[in-house]
Amino acid sequence: MRAFLTLCLWTLWLALTVFHAVPVFANQSTTAPTTASTSASSDAKASVFQDQFRDVASDLRCPTCVGLSVLESDAPFSKQIKDEVTSQLKAGKSHEEILTFFTERYGPWILRVPPKTGVSILAWAIPLAVLLAGPLAVWFLVWRRRDDLAGVEAVKPLEEILAAWNRDINKRRDSLNSSLPGNEGSTTLATDEGGNQA
């Protein structure tokens, strides 16, 4: 039951992480626009266009704000970018083509996520590695302990432990006695004659 549960949880986690890693490492974003509905109504078309516009605009940063996309910002610079996105979409360019256009013009800084090349790949790889390795570490360090303990739990009888202690104490005392300078035999430390001896 326990092994089964663990297996289930681990598979679930692996599936989630891999599922999640695919869009991260693929160039296509997860929120790719669905194909335009066949309905001829201009309303639906406008809505699809609006969705496409939002997808692109929310992938570009507002150059003059902290933490906002151009979609969320009304700064003059953002408005320019939004106009450019609108005209490029109308010209039939795809999501990636527009992003590439802006990256070439302003550098990868204009994208809201780091590129998956060069040093920046670390920003993606480290969290993924932690997410994958973490449960493994928890598994090895924590859950499996119980199996190790099965061996430890078979405790030695108390007498054996006491005997081992006594042997240790006697050994130390002997070595102390022999190391006392000059007076071997005359002033040795008292030998333990109590009941603890094995």
Partner: protein, 683 residues
């Protein structure tokens, strides 16, 4: 003149804190009791002088003494009294001052209320806290001096940043700083435990209370900051994952992980060292947050080199971290392992470990996302941005795992792989949860999300949250069951239960709060908005709501002039209320500021911002209208979380009664017997 007085108070405080630091170190080394008391007295004097300096600052603010540069730069003659008061912390020097003052006050409280069981480590606690206080005082008299003069004094100030003229800015910084600084106490106790060589139970009960207090303050502080952004910045969100927000979130995550580690330490005696590490990291991250917000390093590595305060902060936080971790490396082996062996397996303690893993992973993601642009610019000279989409690629998964971990962790028991009630509880919960999840989806109009992928994520998330809530309630019911036989009616039964289970009840309430917050995040995954240009009397509709513009008006409020476009909102012909979006003009600033109009309900917040208006007549107004689902739920859940934290802090079993008496052994001073008879720390 007040500037000189204030500066002198700060200088005196610095001298006292340095003396207190030296005296505490010597007292710890020599086991000298009176020397420690002298150090504690010096800490008290330090705090007193800082408070006196703060009073001087407030008096200068209210007397509009523009000979002080800080007053001149951040206030003006027209500022209302309330905002004059809050100007104290509305710029760099002042917020450093506030940080320092709260820390000094907490130092005094921690030293005078120290438990008798801890008396033998108190000199180390005092030394750690005073080291931090004296370093902050050093900065306050050198690079971040709030009392710099500006002569001859101008007749009016430059005025306060209008964004900060908001009630939330009055309460948000002190609350957040309270949380940051309260984390200094667990940190100081961690250092003390390592310096002394072991942890006692008295140690845990004191640090637990301070951590809980810090956690409540941080939770409230982060949420207040989010609420400020929501009502003031006008982009219809409360959390943008920007570096300033992230830096307040990381200590919260660390403090939360620390609390979960402390539960294991309290119940089983394990994870003592991990508790120490987490206490160090929690305080480090609260300073780290201050560092990246103060130093200008966010905007660019290159602007960082210009100021003096940035490099100083960097040196301090680096030595803080390196020093603490070095101490840990040397001293951690002396901390004794618990008596009982480790039996982890599938059990509550393992679930708590998993929780800590999730919290720390989220903290790692937030940390990488915050510092990576800086590192990248410094290493490869490539400027990159890391913003919300990056964090949103990881956070939901961790949140999802957290929902499951909360349910399982609460249902499981220590040392046992069996859930009381068995699988039936899980399955019943899975069935019962369908109803509230369906209700939430229906009332929250979740099915209006058009895309398959977000819709699926929302439904799965909402269902899992409901399942988790039901599991928690089932667990609560099981804990309540043994109290069914208590005589004296319902009231006596609940009193007995609460007395015995205060900490559990607090945790239950806080976890419900967390789950409701996640529910709120899932709900406002999808907001809708629309930009419209309206004339008076015209109507625009969005998501079933009709917004009818009333008469454009100009009115005065405080020192601001508001240009306001009231919008009457109706839904299906029934009146919902009126939103008042506005633009405001402050006397000292040229630009027009956004005053967001919010009309809140449980399911939807109606949120309106004026983008532009016809300046001559006010006849046409361009508006950004938003319908934001379940924002109210997020802020309500924060109140519930804080409430849970407060309840948990009243736990008397872990609070007042100690199971371990280890009086201080002093070699000098009033002797070890007197240490007990005079009540140790309370004498």
């Amino acid at each position: 003149m007040p500037a000189h007085l204030g500066f002198m108070f700060l200088l005196l405080a610095l001298i006292f804190s340095l003396y207190g630091f030296g005296a505490s170190i010597a007292a710890a080394w020599l086991r000298h009791r009176r020397l420690y008391r002298s150090g504690r007295m010096a800490a008290t004097m330090t705090a007193t002088f800082i408070v006196l300096a703060a009073i001087v600052m407030w008096l200068s603010l209210f007397s509009r003494d523009y000979s002080i540069a800080y007053v001149w730069r951040n206030s003006s003659n027209d500022l209302p009294a309330f905002y004059t008061f809050t100007t104290f912390w509305s710029a760099l020097e002042g917020s450093h001052f506030l940080w320092m003052m709260i820390l000094a006050i907490f130092t005094v409280i921690a030293l005078w209320t120290g438990n008798r069981d801890n008396e033998h480590i108190m000199p180390w606690v005092a030394a750690s806290l005073l080291a931090v206080v004296s370093w902050m005082l050093y900065l306050a008299v050198s690079h971040s001096d709030p009392f710099v003069m500006q002569l001859p004094a101008p007749t009016n100030g430059l005025g306060k940043n209008p964004l900060l003229q908001n009630p939330y800015m009055a309460i948000h910084p002190p609350t957040l700083f309270t949380g940051y600084t309260a984390l200094a106490i667990p940190f100081a106790y961690a250092i003390a435990a390592m310096a002394y060589g072991d942890i006692t139970e008295g140690w845990l009960k004191t640090t637990r209370r301070w951590t809980l207090f810090a956690w409540c303050a941080l939770t409230a502080g982060v949420a207040l900051g989010g609420h400020w952004a929501y009502v003031e910045l006008g982009w219809a969100g409360y959390w943008a994952w920007d570096p300033v927000e992230n830096s307040s979130f990381m200590p919260w995550l660390m403090a939360t992980a620390l609390l979960h580690s402390m539960v294991i330490q309290d119940k089983l005696g394990h994870l003592k060292r991990s508790g120490i590490i987490l206490a160090i990291l929690a305080f480090f991250f609260s300073f780290f947050g201050t560092f990246i917000t103060r130093s200008g390093i966010i905007s660019s590595v290159h602007s960082f080199a210009d100021g003096n305060i940035g490099p100083n902060y960097l040196i301090f936080i680096a030595s803080l971290l390196v020093g603490s971790l070095a101490l840990f490396a040397f001293r951690a082996p002396s901390i004794l392992p618990p008596d009982a062996g480790k039996v982890w397996g599938v059990s509550k303690e393992s679930a708590l470990i998993v929780t800590q893993f999730l919290l720390l992973t989220l903290a790692a993601v937030v940390f990488i996302g915050t510092v990576f642009p800086i590192v990248s610019e410094a290493v490869s000279n490539q400027r990159i941005s890391i913003q919300a989409p990056y964090f949103n690629a990881f956070a939901p998964w961790i949140g999802l795992a957290m929902i499951v971990a909360i349910a399982m962790g609460n249902l499981l028991r220590y040392h046992s792989a069996k859930i009381p009630g068995g699988r039936a509880v899980l399955i019943n919960a899975a069935v019962i949860a369908i109803l509230p999840a369906a209700l939430f989806c229906w009332r929250g109009e979740v099915f209006k999300t058009t895309r398959a992928w977000p819709l699926g994520a929302q439904i799965v998330g909402i269902y899992l949250v409901m399942w988790s809530v039901v599991c928690l309630c089932a667990d609560f019911r099981q804990r309540l069951a043994p109290f069914a036989n208590v005589a004296g009616g319902v009231f006596a039964r609940w009193a007995a239960f609460l007395r015995r289970n205060t900490a559990y009840t607090g945790a239950f309430v806080a976890h419900i709060g967390v789950l409701l917050a996640i529910l709120g995040f899932l709900g406002n995954y999808r907001g809708v908005d629309r930009e419209v240009t309206l004339r008076s009397g015209e109507t625009a509709s969005l998501f079933g709501y009709d917004f009818t513009m009333g008469k454009f008006q100009v009115r005065e409020e405080g020192n601001a002039t508001l240009y306001e476009a009231p919008l009457l909102v109706t839904r299906d012909g029934r009146e919902v209320g009126t939103v008042y979006p506005a633009k405001s003009k402050y006397p000292t600033k040229p630009e027009l500021m956004n005053e967001v109009g919010v009309l809140g309900g449980f399911w939807h917040d109606l949120y309106a911002v004026i983008v532009d208006f016809e300046k001559k007549s006010g006849e046409t107004v361009t508006l950004q209208l938003h319908v934001n689902p379940t924002v109210r739920l997020v802020f309500m859940s924060v109140v519930i979380m804080v409430l849970g934290g407060i309840i948990a802090a009243f736990d008397r079993i872990r609070g007042d009664r100690s199971r371990d008496v280890a009086g201080g052994v002093w070699e000098h001073g009033s002797g070890s017997h007197a240490a007990h008879s005079q009540g140790g720390g309370r004498a």
